[in-house]
Symmetry: C2
DNA sequence: TATGAATAGTGCGTATACGCACGACATTTC
DNA sequence: GAAATGTCGTGCGTATACGCACTATTCATA
């Protein structure tokens, strides 16, 4: 197997998922990434923006831009943090919770199709392998230049 | 396993890959997606813009914006298509070919790390599973609303 | 061959994605 | 308790990502 296949396969799979999700959620007036943000908040309310970004995962700058829009549409609120004057405590509004339930239903066909294209064992394995790869990339600081093999083979 | 884990794991893995790649390629003056475009062109020269978009995969509008930038930096050229007056034949310039080789080397640590975090069997399986999921999402037109299970269980 | 349908590319608008610099507040250290 | 250091959020700039409307060209067919 060629080395470059794995990154490209990962990219291709994500892109299709993203496109299909976008089409599914558009009717409900939110984007795929806004759904991810709402889902993350639904799991853990009153996060600050950095923690929210870490969990999505996304960038704090990006999350801020998203929150501005979501706040404007009334799905999310940002209160001043009780103990940390720098931070803001983000949480779903009641409307946000309702919208999230609606979105979860709307996304079900996509989740179902992904899972049903695989055996239960394959689905489980795929999640495990994706996490393994993600963890590996997350942990290691990559060399800035050149070729790591030139070193390890020397 | 929860249903939502697979999409989130896929998203998380792609995001890390994208971020790490961005950091690696930035020194060389191109983005990760520009690298993908150049790699796609390196495999099949003189594609028109739609075919290029189909292979990346990406959106024709996005590809156009990228080509404008890449053309400006001299890595890519767009000639009028020999037989189709609507289309443009996109190809790498000599500078584009050189840059691509350089980028391929720069990306090697990332590809290496992804592959080496898995056994050869796992890596092979992962690529297969990703393609299976991607193909499944690509082929089926999803229902516009509601829950596909409400139908299949009825 | 005229004409309608399909296709390639363009241009625009909105929403991520992320780096970077900045001010505000916290925490540490002396 | 004041200064150094770190962290949170903001604001800005550039580059995707994609839908949509529009023009130009090609293809199908009457």
């Amino acid at each position: 197997m060629t080395r470059g296949e794995l990154p490209m396969a990962l990219r291709a799979a994500y892109m299709v998922l993203h496109r299909k999700s976008e089409a599914q959620f558009a009717r409900l007036g939110v984007t795929t990434d806004q759904f991810v943000l709402l889902a993350t908040l639904a799991r853990g309310q009153a996060l600050n923006q950095r923690e929210l970004a870490r969990r999505m995962p996304s960038d704090p700058s990006t999350v801020r831009a998203m929150l501005v829009l979501l706040e404007r549409s009334g799905l999310v609120q940002r209160d001043t943090h009780p103990t940390d004057g720098r931070a803001r405590a983000v949480s779903l509004t009641p409307a946000g919770k309702r919208k999230f339930k609606q979105l979860w239903k709307a996304g079900d066909p996509i989740r179902a199709q992904m899972v049903e294209s695989l055996t239960p064992g394959e689905a489980h394995a795929l999640v495990g392998l994706l996490r393994k790869v993600a963890d590996s990339l997350n942990s290691q600081s990559l060399p800035r230049g050149g070729n790591v093999h030139a070193l390890s083979k020397g």
